[in-house]
C-alpha cells in the first residue's frame, strides 16, 4: 500500500489515477466540488498528498493551490506525509472508551511496537486514536486501512497484532470486494 519511506522523494501518480480525474470533475455542476474526491484519489494512490498534487488538483478544479491546501488541512483524513504500511485507527470516543479502547490502545502500543500518533520503526504500522467512526455498538472498534474490526478487546491485542502482521505478506490484501458476510466487509 504505502511503501514510500519518509526520506524518499514522492513518486509520480500512476497513469490510472491521472486518467480517472477528468470523469470525476465531470460529475459535478461546479468543478470545485471535485476537490475532495480528487484528494481521496491521490491519497489512495500514493498514501499522502504533496504540494505538487495540490497544484494539479487546483488546476483541474479551477482554484488556487492555497484553496486546495485549506481543504487538505481541514479534514482529518487527508495527510501530507507518508504513513506505515498499515494504518491502524482505534476509536477513542465515549462508546468505545466505555468498552476499553484506552486499555486496548496501551496494549497495541506494546504489541505493535509503536507509540500512539507515530509510525513503528520498521515502517509497518501507523497507530492513531481517531474520533467516533459510527460503529458504537461493537466497541472497541479499530479501522485498519479500508476495513473495520469490531469488538477488539484489550486482551485480544496480541492476537489482533498477529492478524495484522499476517496481512503484510498477503498478496490479496486490500483486493477483496466489499461483500457482506466476510469479516472485512464492514469498513
Amino acid at each position: 500500500m504505502h511503501e514510500t519511506s519518509p526520506s524518499a522523494p514522492a513518486r509520480a501518480l500512476t497513469p490510472e489515477t491521472l486518467a480517472k480525474a477528468p470523469a470525476i470533475v465531470g460529475l459535478y455542476p461546479q468543478k470545485r466540488s471535485a476537490t475532495m474526491p480528487l484528494l481521496h484519489l491521490v491519497q489512495e494512490d500514493r498514501g499522502y498528498i504533496t504540494q505538487d498534487d495540490m497544484s494539479w488538483v487546483a488546476e483541474l478544479v479551477g482554484v488556487t493551490p492555497m484553496q486546495v491546501l485549506e481543504v487538505v488541512t481541514f479534514y482529518p483524513m487527508f495527510r501530507q506525509s507518508p504513513i506505515g504500511r498499515r494504518h491502524v485507527r482505534v476509536c477513542r470516543t465515549l462508546s468505545c472508551a466505555l468498552r476499553g479502547s484506552y486499555a486496548l490502545m496501551s496494549e497495541l502500543e506494546k504489541s505493535l511496537n509503536c507509540p500512539r500518533g507515530e509510525t513503528s520503526p520498521d515502517g509497518n504500522f501507523t497507530l492513531e486514536f481517531v474520533e467516533c467512526i459510527a460503529d458504537c455498538g461493537c466497541g472497541p472498534v479499530v479501522h485498519v486501512d479500508s476495513s473495520m474490526h469490531e469488538n477488539v478487546k484489550p486482551e485480544d491485542a496480541a492476537a489482533f497484532t498477529q492478524q495484522l502482521k499476517a496481512t503484510l505478506t498477503d498478496p490479496t490484501y486490500g483486493q477483496k470486494s466489499p461483500v457482506p458476510g466476510t469479516p472485512e466487509w464492514n469498513g
Binding site: 465515549l94 474520533e131 459510527a134 457482506p180 464492514n186
Partner: protein, 449 residues
Amino acid sequence: MSAVERPLIYANLRKPGYSVDIDCYQRHGGYEALKKAVAMKPEEVCKEVETSGLRGRGGAGFPTGMKWKFLDRKSGKPIYLVVNADESEPGTYKDRQIIYQDPHQMLEGIAITAWAIQAKQAFIYIRGEFIHGAKILENAIAEAKAKGFLGQNILGSGYSCEVVVHRGGGCYVCGEETGLIESLEGKRGYPRIKPPYFPAVLGLYNCPTIVNNAETMAQVKHVLAFGGAEFAKIGIPGDSGTHIWCVSGLVKRPGLYEIEAGKATFGQLLYDFCGGPLDGRTFKAIIPGGSSTKILKFGERFKGKLPNGQEFDWALEDIPLDSNSIAACGTGLGTGGTIVFDDSVEMIQALSNLNAFYAHETCGQCTPCREGSLWLSRVSKRITTGGGQESDVPLLLDIANQVAGRTICAHGEAVAWPVQSAVPKFKDEFVESIRKRAKGEDLPKLKLI
C-alpha cells in the same frame, strides 16, 4: 405489557441471506413505492409525506414534509437534493447498516424525494471512512440506473435524476447541513449563517436545496408504500414511524433496536431489549440521543407537561421513547444513540472524553466554540490528571454558558449541553474525584481519557 420491536427500515436487512443486489431488493417488493410515486404528481407525493407526520431522523426531528414546503420553487435555479450520510454523532450507527446492507432502500427513497421536490441532481454525502459503503452505493446506483429507477427517463416518465456519491473527510461538523453544503462545494466545512443561508432557498451553489438524513430517505420509501395516512398510524400522534435505537456502552446486549415511536420506555429498552446492566453492576446514567443530547441520571424524577397538556411524573425508566416525551424531560431523542453508563464509570472522565471530542471537531469559525471547547477539554482533563481544584467545577459550567447560543451553528450547543447537564447532576461526584486525586486514593479501573 412487554414491548416488541417493529422493524420497518431493518425488516429486510435482518433476514438471513438478504443481500445488497437489486434483484434481492426487488424480490422483497423493492421499487414498487417509486412506481406508485411517479404515477402521482410531485405535489401529491409531498402531501403524502406531510400527512405521514414523518420527522427527520438526523437529530433535530424537523417534520420532513414541512422542510420540503420551504423549498423555493420559483427561483428558476436548479433544485438539489443532498442526502446526509455523514453519520458521525457519537453513539449513532444506524445509517451505516442501511448503506452497507440495504442500499436500494435508501436509493428508492432518494428517487421518490427527488421526484417530489423535482431535483434533477442528488448527492449522497457519505462519511469518508465508509470506503466500502461508498462502493456498495455506487454499485447500487449503477444497478438502479440500468433498470430505469434512477438516471435518465425514470420509469419512462421523462423525468431524470442523477445521483453522485461524495465522500467526506472525517469531519463531524460536516454533518451540520450548511457545513455539509460548503464541504460539498469543495471548501472547508464551515457552517453558514442563517439567515440568509437557509438551504431550501440558498443551499448548494446558492440554489434551493433539500438536505435530508439517510434514514429519513429510507422512511420516505415506507411513507409511499403505506400511504401517508396509514404511515401516520405507526407510532403516536406527533411522532410517526419507527425509531432505531443505537444502544452502546455498558449494557449486556448493546445493539440496534427498531421500535415504534412511543411504544416502549427507556426501562424496556435497557432491561428487556438490552438485557440490563453487566453482571454485578447497576445503571448510573444515560445519554439518550447521541452525545450532544443532555444526560439523564437514574434516580431522577422528571415532572412536567407534554405538548398535549398531559401531566407526567416519571422515573428515567418510565420515559416513553418518542420525541415529545424525551424533549419534555429536558433532553432530546436526537439520533437515538443511547450511551449507557454504569456504576464503574467516573463521570468526570466520561465528560472529559466528550469535551475532547468537541474540542477536536470544532471548525474554528466562532470564537466562543473554538476557545470554549478547548478550555472545557483542558479543565476537565486537568481534573482527571490530578491538577484540578473545586473551583474548576463551576468554572466548567461558566465556560459552557458562554458558548451555547453564541455560535453560527449548533456545534456550540453540542459543546455546552453535556457540561450544562452533567455539572448540576454530578457536581458532588466531580468534587469527590478531585479530592481522591489530591489524597492519592485509588482511582476507578476504567480509563476514559
